[in-house]
């Protein structure tokens, strides 16, 4: 696909967002992934989410590790800084960047190899620290760049392209995020943009660690019969737990929903997440309830999707640290250096 130069034109009929920017302004360079890759659909949804949220492109920081997923930040929001670091270590880079400048919108794009094997520790600890980031795990169950080895989340019995079944137990990132205390846990499917979009927007506006697992089939190495991460399998077994809408702070509250059929959760900035048709025995703000619900559906062989858990508390690692409101990177030397008088006084304590 890379031999085609991306045309710099935009349809005159397309509208602009609150900043007067067009969807085109949120695009990146052209994708070098395989045609039909699920990741490209995620990229398209990410572009639309940023556009619709009217986030200034340069106030976005795009973080990634290594792998097919890690390349995708180059394919959206050209006018944002991106950091394609080392394999499995994006959470540490994101933690540091966020420590330095907490006012940016952080999006981390990872894969199942990046997050669940080489970077499992970093993934877990970023959750523990509650870094304010939308962490998207583009989950295809295989290592694409090295030609189709199973990843740590491949299901038992799932077959590789050559027909070899996986025998190792999978690491389930959603269950993991729920148990480790992620303050936002969701799963989407790259083949369902309508569902994915509000999840991305809610995740971006969530303060704290927002985890979004996206089943994103690998058309080259994991989209065959016998795979549990294929388009077909996901479509057949997908179970959207609760349809969700994201209502930005500036929007009018629509009255088009029936009373009692939804749960609305106000987020830290005043925007809202609406859960439609919440089952009676499930409370998306209760971690245990979310976990039980998720596990029971999963045991029935269903690929559970949707916003599974949300802690609207709106605190992140900087609240724990009581960090000064001005981002640390923007403080001046005068703000930071104690000066000679303090030094002289201090020296007397070392005598």
């Amino acid at each position: 696909m890379t031999y085609i130069a991306k045309p710099a034109v935009r349809h005159p009929g397309l509208g602009a967002n609150d900043l007067g920017l067009h969807m085109r302004d949120y695009e990146g360079t052209i994708s070098t992934l395989c045609a039909g890759c699920g990741h490209d659909s995620v990229t398209a949804a990410v572009i639309q989410a940023f556009y619709e949220l009217s986030i200034p492109p340069h106030r976005i920081a795009k973080m990634s590790g290594i792998g097919c997923s890690a390349k995708t930040p180059a394919y959206f929001v050209n006018e944002a800084h991106g950091f394609n670091g080392v394999h499995g270590r994006m959470p540490a880079l994101a933690t540091g960047a966020n420590a330095a400048n907490k006012d940016l919108h952080y999006i981390g794009i990872s894969g199942d190899g990046d997050s669940l094997s080489i970077g499992l520790g970093q993934f877990c600890h970023a959750i523990r620290r509650n870094v304010n980031i939308l962490y998207v795990l583009e989950n295809n169950g295989v290592y694409g760049l090295t030609k189709g080895q199973f990843s740590a989340c491949a299901d038992v019995g799932s077959r590789s392209k050559r027909g070899v079944p996986n025998k190792s137990e999978p690491i389930d990132p959603v269950a993991l995020a729920l148990t480790l205390g992620a303050t936002f846990v969701a799963r989407g499917f790259s083949g369902d943009k309508q569902q994915l979009l509000p999840l991305l927007k809610a995740g971006l506006m969530h303060k704290g660690f927002a985890f979004l697992d996206v089943i994103s089939p690998c058309v080259t190495f994991n989209d065959h019969v016998g795979s549990t991460k294929s388009y077909l399998y996901t479509r057949h077994h997908g179970h959207e737990l609760v349809p969700v809408d994201f209502v930005p702070i500036r929007s009018e509250i629509s009255a088009s929903y029936e009373k009692g059929s939804r749960t609305s959760i106000t987020m830290h900035d005043g925007s809202m997440v609406r859960f439609r048709k919440v089952p009676e025995d499930y409370d998306p703000t209760d971690r245990l309830s979310a976990y039980e619900h998720y596990r029971s559906l999963q045991n029935r062989g269903e690929v559970v999707t949707g916003l599974l858990y949300l802690d609207p508390g709106g605190e992140d690692m900087h609240d724990d640290n009581a960090t000064t409101p001005t981002p640390l990177a923007e403080l001046s030397h005068e703000d930071l250096c104690p000066g000679s008088e303090q030094m002289d006084a201090l020296m007397e304590e070392f005598r």
């Binding site: 006018e79 800084h81 933690t95 420590a99 960090t323 403080l331 930071l336 030094m343």
Partner: protein
């Protein structure tokens, strides 16, 4: 090897003693009290804590050297040993120099086989007295330590008022403890005065040589350097012997960087899950514009190496403080070594080279910590502050640290919003100024500053490449950039002597021992020049100095002569000019060792190394 100091007859303010105790018995505070009292008497002194990798039960020693001449290298010859740990009696007694003293607890009889007739045994019934005077097992153990400090006060002629003053300061918040501590001091003091001929020939006499000085360890001073340089993000994984650096940073930040009214803090410390993450946090923070650092030790540097390569190639400032300990592998975590010199110079795979600063004492740790942040941002690259356990964890007597309020940090070539607005297009890795250093932009500042940071092959425009020429262009510029730091890192410390034809070359904490050795050799009729390397890449002065001497004896603390190898590798000096003297058993080096090794290498007969009375003592160090 014999220590020339011992040939002198007047030992006032010129001796060394050692206290052997059991780890976890509270002896550290008694030892600190003794050391500080000597310091407050105005007498130059230095303390080395020899401790096990354990919390309770294993033997530990505290060595104090008193030197009116200001020498502070460790000396392995002890005039007096306080043996409070029966488990190490045999070893402690054996280590007293002939004619020296052994102070022990005589509450229980000393085994006959340990007795020596060439040293004096000073028995004080410390245990018995403390059992009689104090209640509770813990208190008795603690007071026994204070009591031996009291006995030492009498034997060495310490100023009791100074000691009382310190006890008062120390327990200002718990005045109830002052009385018992006074009492313990007096128990030991009175007993010694009554039973021994006090003071001993090794004794203290008030001087005025410490009033402009402080007692400080290099982890504390490096932490202060980080605070004063404006570091806001610190990430770490606890590891001996660097842990106290982050503890100190946190303490100073809580004091200087916390708004007393709102409680808001202008710093962020991440205790990471491992050293890999610590390095990542620092690099992420540097990328986003904060001054960030991580303290670690050799095993941590090994783990951080992948990230170090990323910071080198993607050109992100980051400061790594390596407090070296004995390697390889886990090695000996509580012993000192200079085993990471080669590792930090070229850390990470592929072609890399890193700026490194080598302080020799806590004063330089402070100064170089500040400098490290400037160099990291100026050269947009990892910078290593390489110290060791001896500097980092031992109390050194150093001049009071000063801060110049006119200091302006060098934040390097960072484009602000106004500058980005003006330029047509920003290329991250373009050598615009021809100095090998490109311009940098920070996230969030301006849309024109955006670029995609990557550790994969990239062009000078910041785009991905697999093209040979485009890749090579960036790599060659990086090489020029780091090499150009040679003239910006601290210049070597050099001291020339009249008539010298050979030199001693060293690095880091070997400084004290090697400088003292040059004095010893001078007195023995062998003037030698001296150079201490302080920065990497090497300044041209380093090569010039080496070339000026037929024989350069390179003194360092590792097995493989890492400094020598680096000198050969980087300066292309004739290797035949460099002879190694190595000491890597984990203890700070002694001057007697260095002088002995030099004499041996030169094949000087013992009669040649007799002290020449006419030789004048040269003045202090040139740094």
């Amino acid at each position: 090897m014999s220590d020339p100091r011992l040939e002198k007859t007047d030992r006032t303010n010129d001796f060394a003693f050692k206290i052997g105790t059991v780890n976890g018995t509270g002896s550290a505070s008694a030892n600190g009290l003794i050391m500080q009292a000597i310091f407050r008497m105005g007498i130059p002194c230095t303390g080395k804590n020899v401790f096990p990798s354990n919390f309770q039960g294993l033997p530990t020693w505290y060595e104090i050297r008193v030197s009116h001449e200001g020498y502070s290298a460790r000396t392995p010859e002890f005039d007096l040993i306080v043996a409070m740990n029966p488990a190490t009696y045999e070893r402690d007694i054996a280590e007293v120099r002939p004619g020296g003293y052994l102070l022990h607890d005589s509450s229980w009889p000393m085994a006959k086989e340990f007795l020596r007739d060439d040293i004096t045994f000073l028995g004080v019934p410390l245990g018995e007295m403390c059992v009689r005077e104090f209640k509770g097992a813990r208190v008795r153990i603690l007071m026994k330590n204070i009591a031996y400090a009291g006995a030492l006060a009498a034997l060495l002629s310490m100023d009791l008022d100074v000691i009382r003053g310190m006890i008062q300061e120390k327990f200002a918040a718990k005045p109830k403890l002052i009385g018992s501590n006074y009492k313990a001091i007096e128990l030991g003091y009175d007993y010694a005065m009554e039973h021994f001929d006090c003071p001993l020939p090794i004794r203290l006499q008030t001087m005025d040589a410490t009033s402009d000085h402080v007692l400080m360890d290099g982890n504390t001073s490096a932490a202060l350097g980080c605070v004063f340089a404006g570091a806001t993000v610190g990430a770490w994984y606890p590891i001996t012997p660097s842990t106290s650096l982050m503890d100190a940073f946190k303490r100073f930040c809580e004091r200087f960087r916390k708004d007393p009214e709102t409680g808001e803090r202008s710093f962020f410390i991440a205790q990471a899950e491992d050293e890999l993450a610590a390095a990542g946090v620092v690099i992420g923070a540097g990328w986003a514009g904060a001054r960030a650092f991580t303290p670690t030790s050799g095993p941590g540097v090994s783990l951080m190496s992948e990230f170090i390569g990323l910071a080198y190639y993607a050109e992100i400032p980051a400061v790594f403080v390596d407090v070296q300990r004995v390697g390889p592998s886990t090695g000996m975590p509580t012993r000192t070594q200079q085993g990471d010199i080669a590792a930090v110079a070229y850390a990470s795979h592929g072609d890399t080279k890193h700026i490194a600063l080598f302080p020799a004492n806590p004063e330089e740790s402070f100064q170089m910590a500040v400098e490290a942040f400037d160099l990291a941002e100026r050269f947009q690259s990892p910078v290593f502050l390489v110290q060791d356990l001896d500097i980092g964890m031992n109390d050194w007597m150093i001049p009071k640290l000063r801060w110049d309020d006119s200091f302006v940090p060098d934040r390097g070539k960072v484009l602000g919003a106004a500058e980005l607005e003006k330029i047509q297009k920003f290329y991250r890795y373009m050598d615009v100024d021809g100095d090998g250093i490109p311009y940098r932009s920070l996230p969030g500042v301006h849309p024109k500053g955006a670029y995609f940071t990557r550790g994969s092959g990239h062009t000078s425009r910041g785009t991905y490449t697999e093209d040979a020429d485009e890749y090579t262009e960036v790599m060659d510029r990086l090489s020029r950039k780091i090499d150009s730091a040679a003239s910006e890192v601290p210049a070597p410390a050099v001291r020339m002597r009249e008539g010298a034809t050979m030199s001693l070359v060293t690095i880091g904490s070997c400084d004290e021992a090697v400088r003292e050795a040059t004095d010893i050799l001078e007195r023995q009729g062998l003037p030698v020049n001296y150079m201490r390397v302080r920065g990497f890449p090497f300044d041209t002065l380093v090569r010039e100095f080496l070339d000026a001497h037929e024989l350069n004896i390179v003194v360092e603390q590792n097995r493989d002569a890492q400094l020598r190898r680096l000198l050969v590798n980087e300066t292309e000096v004739d290797p035949a000019r460099l002879h190694s003297v190595l000491d890597y058993g984990g203890f700070p080096m002694s001057a007697a060792f260095v002088a002995g090794e030099v004499n041996e290498h030169l094949g000087r007969a013992p009669e040649e190394t007799k002290v020449r009375p006419a030789a004048e003592r040269p003045e202090g160090a040139v740094a």
